[in-house]
Amino acid sequence: MTDIPDVADRFSGAIDEVALGKGDYVAGGAKGMPFLSFENPVKRRPLIAGEVFDTLDGYPQLAADMFDGRQKDPVEWALMWKEIGADMICVRLVSTDPSRGGTPPEESAALVKRISDATKLPIIVSGCGVMDLDIPVFTAVAEAVRDSRLILSKADEDDYKRLASVAIANDHIVVGFANLDVNLSKQMNILLTDFGVDRRNMLTDPLMAALGMGLDYSYSVQERIRIAALMGDSMLQIPMLCDCTGAWDVGDAVSDEDPSLGDPRFRATWWEAITALAAVISGADIVVMRGPGAADMLMGYCDELRGEI
């Protein structure tokens, strides 16, 4: 019998390691393509962040029904995520938008502090998406939580300095966002570095498009980022954060109009789980999840993929 050629890649580069929260959670560190134990001795599981909102206004009922009522209090909601096994919490502060209640920054900061204290998990803080409204909120949150390194999401090419400044001032982590473009991801990392953000305080978000909504682009962009990073491009070696919750915006995932498509609860769960599997197999180091079922499935699959079951 002919011997199988050795196909393991021996890369010169590695993904950075970024310590999160109180330092007990680390993202990144890979030295090979995801989950290939024959070339990647670092068997760290991608970290899974459970999503929590500061208001249920606009949150899909289909997802809300999966949390036994505990979603009504964001702290309880976060604790439930911890019980499910989430490694991190992603807090979405959207009620700061005047059209959704206009919660003042101090109140948002106090909420994040309570979630951080109650769960002791690393926290991703995401805003309402309008930087002018978000900056005061991020500032208040960053100052209120001093005993955990927060992840502030997210800064893009057009407007990154304000958020980066908040992160630098308080030794928190900033997420650089690029829209499905390897070069732009690299550019974001360079911009943040040049601005003075320490590499150990950076994550990169390449935009994880959901299944059926351009997942193919994300999958390939992420594989290219990972390959370039391992080949030694240091400006792409920043750990990757992929938000998979977009799966819940896909009509085919959540529609209950066509009974032949099967139960939307299971369908939406699969939609997000498959989106997330594609994310971790193409290089995600952190994934943000909405559904508890999908998150639980993903944890199991990741443990198995890295050979821990």
């Binding site: 019998m1 002919t2 939609w271």
Partner: protein, 438 residues
């Protein structure tokens, strides 16, 4: 793939132009880019031709099951070049089923079928299992199945006599016999040769696969599909990666065949199919698959096997759909290609002519663009201005339901009433009918 120079060395170098190219070198360049096939040159010596064919064949052999090609893959990552033949999905049916039950089962399998933006997502094959243990029953059920199912068929049995009887009975359908292993290999090769159909090998692992495929090659049989014996997600990912890398990078023939997985049913089966679809599987055989599992899985396959060169953005422009006139509705959405194609297809379904204005949001989808501040009333108004659509039609201006919040501002800027559209693109036909009173 050999280089142009390697091809050139094997050509006659007479520049006779019969291949349609000015020179042998030009033809060699087309060959190396896979834009021509060697049979276009009538003068190449037959031994050189064999060498060339061998060298230009895809590193993963193309194996036809039914009317579907499996394998034929040339790269490791889809950004290098489009993956060639999408993963096929099969569901099992037992040969112990009554005629009615078999019909019911086939109807269920056929019902896993979804029409999406002009593409049909569907289950590809039925895998008939020889649960009866009887060759005659297996053959007659295979014939029955062939009468009610027009696509690919897999015949699952370890018994060479049953395999040969059933495969011969539906010979013209080119079924896949699954499976041969170390204990029955010679007889199974005989059965596959007799029926002229491909053979699936049930291997213990990738090393066993090499041993088995080398025995097949020695017997002159190469229409193989390999089950690498993975029993979990890790083995699925790693073994299939090893096989694909060995085939593509090292042209390692013994593993250069399409790969398959025999999974059961339920969550774990679907997870295995997902990993296999992402990483190099050509065929997955399920015992069962529910609709809520099938739709996302089939969508994944479609995503992974699309052409990576298709741009993610369409041009900011006014796209007339149907034959819109001066009273037709005006709709707009982002320039993310998938959004555009989906919305366009749903408008077409309504059969109502529409002016569709595409707004440059740098390829972001509606919600993402809105939250990134790239889909704002000012931008939309600019696009309207540029295309002059507002003077082309006095019809209603319809705003995507997901960005209802910008309707007030937009109304103010363009000075026209704005109607709130649907959140979900699939509701467009219904909405258009009510808006236009048709």
């Amino acid at each position: 793939m050999p280089t142009a120079i390697e091809f050139f060395k094997l050509l006659p170098k007479t520049n006779c132009k019969e291949c349609g190219q000015p020179t042998c070198l030009a033809f060699a360049m087309l060959l190396s880019n896979q834009k021509a096939t060697i049979d276009l040159c009538p003068h190449v010596a037959s031994d050189a031709k064999e060498t060339l064919e061998e060298a230009s064949a895809p590193p993963v052999r193309t194996v036809k099951v039914g009317d579907k090609d499996l394998g034929g893959e040339t790269v490791l990552y889809r950004h290098e070049r489009r993956f060639v033949n999408p993963t096929a999905y099969a569901l099992t049916a037992s040969d112990t089923l009554s005629s009615d039950a078999l019909k019911e089962r086939v109807d269920y399998i056929a019902s896993l079928r979804y029409d999406r933006v002009g593409m049909m997502f569907e289950a590809d094959m039925v895998c008939l299992r020889n649960n009866s243990g009887d060759a005659g029953t297996f053959a007659s059920k295979a014939a029955e199945l062939a009468g009610i199912w027009s696509k690919g068929i897999v015949l699952e049995t370890r018994d060479p006599a049953a395999a040969e009887a059933a495969a011969t009975a539906i010979k013209g359908r080119r079924p896949l016999i699954y499976g041969a292993d170390a204990s029955n290999l010679d007889a199974m090769i005989g059965a596959a040769k007799a029926a002229g159909c491909p053979l699936g090998l049930v291997c213990a692992d990738e090393k066993d696969a090499v041993a088995l495929t080398e025995r097949c090659a020695a017997a002159g049989f190469k229409d193989l599909v390999l089950d690498l014996g993975a029993s979990n997600l890790k083995e699925t990912l790693e073994r299939q990666t090893v096989a694909r890398r060995a085939a593509v990078r090292s042209r390692f023939k013994p593993l250069g065949y399409p790969l398959m997985n025999r999974v059961g049913s339920g969550e774990y089966a679907v997870a295995t199919a997902v990993v296999s679809t992402l990483k190099y599987g050509s065929l997955v055989v399920f015992d069962d698959l529910k609709s809520y599992e099938a739709l996302p899985l089939f969508t994944l396959r479609q995503n992974i096997y699309t052409d990576p060169q298709v741009p993610i953005q369409v041009k900011q422009d006014l796209y007339p759909i149907g034959d819109p006139d001066e009273h037709s509705p005006i709709m707009f959405t982002t320039n993310f290609s998938l959004t555009y194609f989906t919305v366009r297809a749903d408008i077409e379904k309504s059969k109502i002519p529409v002016w569709l204005q595409i707004v440059n949001t740098e390829g972001l989808s509606v919600l993402t663009a809105y939250s990134a501040g790239k889909f704002e009333p000012e931008r939309v108004a600019e696009a309207f201005e540029e295309s002059g659509v507002l003077s082309k039609s006095d019809g209603p201006v319809i705003i995507p339901g997901l960005v209802t919040r910008m309707s007030g501002k937009l109304q103010e800027i363009i000075g026209r009433k704005v109607i709130v559209g649907t959140n979900d693109s699939r509701d467009i036909p219904k909405h258009l009918r009510s808006v236009t009173g048709q």
